[in-house]
Symmetry: C2
DNA sequence: ATCATTAAGGCAAACGTTTGACTGGAATTT
DNA sequence: AAATTCCAGTCAAACGTTTGCCTTAATGAT
């Protein structure tokens, strides 16, 4: 059975002083005689007094809790983000209240309410891919709770963001492919309504354009399609493909599998670049070249920004863009 | 700026009733005329009233928060535990307050205090270190907060446990290797200060002993050493090795890589068994045989037990031991 | 017409803490 | 000696909610 903890009032009674005196003694505020203070501190020590954060929250309207909404925890990407966030919140004395959304809009909405009800001081959220509509987040903003969104920009939502430069990451990857001699580069595209996948798509196009290669719609395949593997095979049968740039590592894994089945030489005949640098990338054979997102850093920066907003009462939203880096492994040729 | 949320008192004022009436109307308790009730509910709706959980906690002495202490989140094992826990707590309307300990006793202690200070309804913890001093956990017990420990039993601590049998898991794995004809079995050992790795080490030794094989210190390699890959190669050069039993899948992956470089036939010449069944195990080639820990289940059961203790006010501790299972894939021979 | 019952809702305390305003007395200044 | 300052504390309200007890008025039974 949960025992009643000793309270400031209990201490006050035992010493025949008022709770205010005890509070001030313990917090070192107001003026209290050294003798009294010592007496109070000693008694608190003796009983192992611990302040009640809940009661504190009531009066201060501050919980030192940060809400975190992530789609799931089974992907390395989100774990690293979590680890990054935690490194900051721990240091600053905040606790993390976590919610998983399973990338379902419904659960995401519910999580927002739950966290708001819990009166968290701020919220960090990575919107799942399935929600093209982010109204539930505007509820957070309306209430005035600081919000930092990870990974995806949403034009309509006037809040802070920490994102990686998807355009640039994609551009760099495709530029590398071109530099290493590839000319017929397929892009595996993610859902259109997600800013990240759209930006990678744009980066792909821009890299082609800048190098005088024409963009061909036939060389773009939807990565989330049912017929994905078939589409890849068809494209390989129809065009003289020499490279793939995929929206995600998982798509890239599938492509490597297909190419191995077709006894294609990787990377001599066909190069492959993925996106995210999942740990798997290093373990498959050949090891996957990929665009590395600084997940830990993203979490860290997002937490830093959120706490800055909370503690310095900053009103205007800020956006921070982190750099990706191309990891050259075994599915790409050396560029000249 | 954080806006003040509408409170029960605000609603009460606007309708010239008392807060008690509003509270009862909203909770459907006490007797209130249908008209009044409707009026109150409508107004609450209009203003988007949301109850303040903090205030509720003050009077009920219940937070609907569960504290969670894990060493880290970058390993799949703990993520799965987290996912398992979350699946239960979400369903029962509890929130998770998470703390990472980095397997440091100091942080672990601090986390205990933090969670206690936050007045969580219960705590789930996976102890990270092997120190026999678990005073910080006994503090939780002393205060009467329900506690379920994961993964590791501590004799002195009279509380509930959900564990897997590392000794047994290791024993079974090594027994399998012996049954399939291996005699010179290398063990890749985890850090000494982690009890799980130590127990697996003991299981390895016991399996050898029981089968009349002598334990040889030279066949034990530290998995976390800088020179790990060199050590493996040296051992392979020096002894007629026919199997590896690794403390973790990641070590096993590295070994497979080394063996492939040496053009060793797996499993004909050398067998490999890992530990944990990381998702990667199925993606590498050959697919890794490994000891599967039911991580998701562990989390789930631990959460179930904790909530049972909390909600049914159960006093006596319970221990549940979950079975590991050997997953036979492509890095082990069939046993006779 | 009288008494008992009940429905509807008010009152106030409680949870643990903080904080602005106040007070009584001692110490200091003029 | 009177006026001023300062120290050490007290008082009470506030945060938002719940809940046991009480009051009022209406309803029903006799």
């Amino acid at each position: 059975m949960k025992k009643k903890k000793i309270s400031i009032t209990d201490l006050a009674k035992e010493l025949n002083v008022t709770p205010s005196t005890v509070s001030r003694a313990l917090n070192g505020l107001g003026s209290i005689s050294t003798k009294r203070k010592e007496q109070i501190v000693n008694l608190a020590q003796k009983y192992g007094y611990r302040p009640n954060h809940i009661a504190k929250s009531m009066v201060s309207n501050k919980t030192f809790n940060i809400g975190l909404i992530l789609p799931e925890f089974t992907h390395n990407y989100f774990n690293k983000i979590l680890a990054g966030i935690e490194s900051i919140t721990y240091q600053k004395g905040y606790q993390l209240l976590i919610c998983t959304s399973d990338a379902l809009k419904e659960k995401e909405e519910k999580s927002c309410l739950t966290l708001l009800d819990a009166r968290v001081d701020g919220i960090l959220a990575a919107a799942g891919n399935s929600s093209d509509n982010l109204d539930h987040f505007s509820k957070i903003i309306d209430y005035g709770t600081p919000l930092v969104l990870l990974d995806r920009i949403c034009e309509d939502l006037n809040t802070s963001y920490v994102i990686t430069d998807d355009f640039d990451g994609a551009f760099e990857a495709v530029q590398y492919l071109i530099d290493s001699g590839c000319r017929n580069i397929v892009h595996i595209k993610g859902p259109d309504y997600i800013s990240t996948s759209f930006n990678r798509f744009l980066g792909y196009q821009e890299a082609l354009r800048k190098n005088g290669l024409t963009y061909r719609e036939e060389l773009v395949i939807a990565g989330d399609s049912e017929s994905f593997v078939d589409d890849v095979n068809n494209t390989l049968n129809t065009f003289p493909i020499d490279a793939f740039f995929a929206f995600s590592d998982y798509n890239a894994f599938d492509i490597v599998k297909v190419l191995k089945q077709r006894h294609c030489k990787i990377p001599e005949e066909i190069s492959v670049i993925g996106y995210a640098d999942e740990p798997l990338a290093q373990y498959i054979s050949p090891q996957l070249s990929t665009v590395k997102q600084p997940a830990y850093e993203i979490g860290k920066r997002a937490a830093e920004i959120l706490l800055k907003i909370i503690e310095e009462n900053i009103e205007l939203p800020m956006t921070e863009q982190l750099k990706t880096s191309l990891v050259h492994r075994e599915t790409t040729k050396n560029s000249h």
